[in-house]
């Protein structure tokens, strides 16, 4: 059971409801993550993704169950697990350097100021913000703020990176650049990453495994999609891969229809400890590949327009 690096073991979360009683956000949730893997969670708003992430971060305690990391149960926040918050959460009275240095000085408490700043500088450069060290968050664009948040999280060289919709507030171009950076950094440093997103393409590009959650309340982890795309995929041609739309359609199909229509009977039938692992495009789930892989690969999707001109 604890052969996984991170092991979520039967956690549930209940909040007191308005009229007495409790609402169950999710219940009996199991998920394992291996060292160095990138896991993305997708699910509709309010299904409990942030709650799971907060439990993983140690900021919140589950009502039941436990999370084991590296054979130790999580008791609280730790410097081994860095969090990139949904709303960047920079300290507005500190400069870019101040924000990153604050994290560095918290991890290595005996370091001199020069050591701390040099280390912080390295991570500021890594996210491409050299030259903006002395600026305060209010003087930065949304994308730059998010990058400071990333630099701050990476600077403490965590074992695990937890990201809550880190790119959702950004324009497409900035988002793409940051996705590339995060992917490169994670591959170089062998991070284990847990990331929440609403963007299917982002999940397919970044994740090794995509975890699908049904709608809340009483959300369940319906299935795990094993990403069949090669590890050396690049952002500009990942969508040309023959299996790309197989994966994409499978996930979108889940979000559009199956996440709502997941009945109590389905939930009862689910083996929560071992949720089904699906590998779209592989011989087995033929429904997906049969329907959509052929028309969308490659360049055949819109034959009428290409002939008209």
């Amino acid at each position: 059971m604890t052969d996984k690096f991170i092991s979520i073991e039967g956690i549930s979360k209940r909040f007191p409801a308005a009229g007495g009683g409790t609402t169950t956000v999710f219940e009996d949730l199991w998920l394992g993550m291996e060292r160095g893997t990138f896991t993305c969670v997708i699910g509709h708003s309010g299904c409990g993704k942030t709650t799971v992430l907060n439990v993983l971060a140690g900021l919140d305690r589950p009502s039941d169950g436990a999370v084991i990391v590296d054979n130790q149960s999580i008791e609280g926040p730790s410097l081994d697990r860095a969090v990139i918050f949904q709303s960047h959460a920079l300290l507005p009275w500190l400069t870019v350097m101040g924000n990153v240095a604050y994290a560095v000085a918290s991890k290595w408490r005996r370091w001199s100021r020069a050591q701390v700043e040099e280390h912080a500088q390295r991570f500021i450069a890594l996210v491409g913000l050299s030259g903006a060290e002395r600026k305060r968050p209010a003087e930065l664009s949304g994308g730059m703020k998010q990058r400071v948040g990333i630099a701050r999280a990476l600077s403490i060289e965590p074992k695990i990176l937890l990201m809550d919709e880190p790119f959702s507030a950004l324009d497409a171009l900035t988002r793409g650049t940051l996705q590339d950076e995060v992917r490169r950094i994670c591959q170089e440093t062998g991070q284990t990453v847990f990331m929440i997103t609403h963007d299917v393409d982002e999940a397919i590009y970044l994740a090794d495994r995509i975890v699908l959650m049904t709608n809340g309340p009483q959300a369940v982890l319906a299935e795990i999609v094993d990403n069949p795309l090669p590890a050396d995929r690049a952002r500009d041609d990942v969508h040309k891969h023959p299996l790309y739309y197989a994966v994409r359609n499978h996930v979108v199909d889940f979000l559009v229809t199956r996440s709502k229509s997941y009945t109590d009977a389905d939930k009862a039938a689910l083996d929560r400890r071992n949720p089904p692992i699906v590998r779209p495009g592989a011989p087995e789930p033929a429904i997906v590949s049969g329907e959509s892989a052929s028309p969308s690969w490659p360049g055949l999707s819109r034959p009428s327009t290409s002939h008209a001109g």
Binding site: G58, L79, F85, A89, Y102, S106
Partner: protein, 279 residues
């Protein structure tokens, strides 16, 4: 556009002031009826009765007095005749000491209340009862226990500055954004370091707003307190000049109190701006 607005506002201010001074001057020019009387009796009656001079000083009289005080603010000719500067100095000294003592007490307790829901609930009834008490109501108790009129005034300043700072600090600390606290928690920052690196800077604008309210109240209260305890200070000066029936000096003191109050308020306003950072 804003520049011209400021400029136009300044013009209007000057015009209003000029109009006020003019009306004041005309109203106090002196048109009271004069009665012929025995010169010995006239001396006793003073200028109001003999030459029709208004009992209220005009702007020119006050201007001359202000100028006189400005020229020589620090003279000391005995207990009841000290320069305005000396009197002001005493008042500011008392306010500063009482206020700083209040800062030392209010901010730590405010942090305690803001950080601990238990202490917040436990101390709430005391604060609710003590806060609405007029600071001057403490004066007899202070005089009885401290047995020193100057220190009693300081105590009254302390008590009246305490509450706005305490309440604002507690509120500011309790409403620090959860995310910022979570940042510190994920970095395993200890309580003391968290107080100084996250809570204090995040709550600083609210705390300083409380401090600004406090200094305003302290400056209001010191005048009344010094009228009661006597001896020195701008409040005593006002009362003393009233006993001398020197309305010119009273008006001068009123002006000076207003100006000093404004300066104190602006100092705190500046400090507030210096610690406020937009997100």
């Amino acid at each position: 556009m804003t520049r011209s607005l400021t400029f136009r506002a300044a013009i209007v201010s000057i015009l209003l002031f000029a109009a006020f001074v003019l009306v004041w001057h005309l109203a106090t020019r002196g048109s009271g009826a004069t009665v012929a009387m025995d010169p010995e009796y006239a001396k006793l009656m003073g200028a109001t009765a003999t030459t029709g001079k208004s009992a209220m000083p005009g702007p020119l009289d006050v201007g001359a007095t202000v100028w006189g005080h400005l020229k020589d603010p620090f003279y000391d000719r005995g207990t009841n005749d000290k320069g305005l500067g000396i009197q002001l100095g005493w008042s500011i000294l008392r306010v500063t000491i009482g206020y700083l003592l209040a800062v030392l007490v209010a901010i730590p307790i405010g942090f305690l209340i803001g950080m601990s829901p238990l202490m917040s609930k436990a101390l709430d009834p005391f604060i609710q009862v003590l806060k609405p008490i007029s600071p001057l109501a403490w004066m007899p108790l202070a005089l009885y226990t401290i047995k020193d009129s100057g220190l009693s005034a300081v105590f009254v300043i302390f008590i009246c500055s305490l509450w706005p700072m305490l309440v604002n600090t507690a509120f500011g600390v309790a409403s620090v954004r959860k995310e910022w606290i979570n940042v510190a928690r994920t970095l395993e920052v200890g309580t003391l370091r968290r107080i100084f690196t996250v809570l204090l800077p995040a709550a600083a604008p609210t705390i300083l707003t409380g401090m600004r309210i406090s200094i305003g109240i302290a400056w209001l209260v010191i005048v009344a307190a010094e009228m009661l305890v006597g001896g020195t200070g701008i409040g005593y000066f006002v009362w003393n000049e009233w006993n001398n029936l020197s309305i010119t000096n009273v008006i001068t003191a009123i002006l000076v109190i207003g100006v000093v109050g404004m300066i104190l308020d602006q100092l705190l306003a500046r400090a507030t701006r210096a610690v406020t950072f937009p997100e």
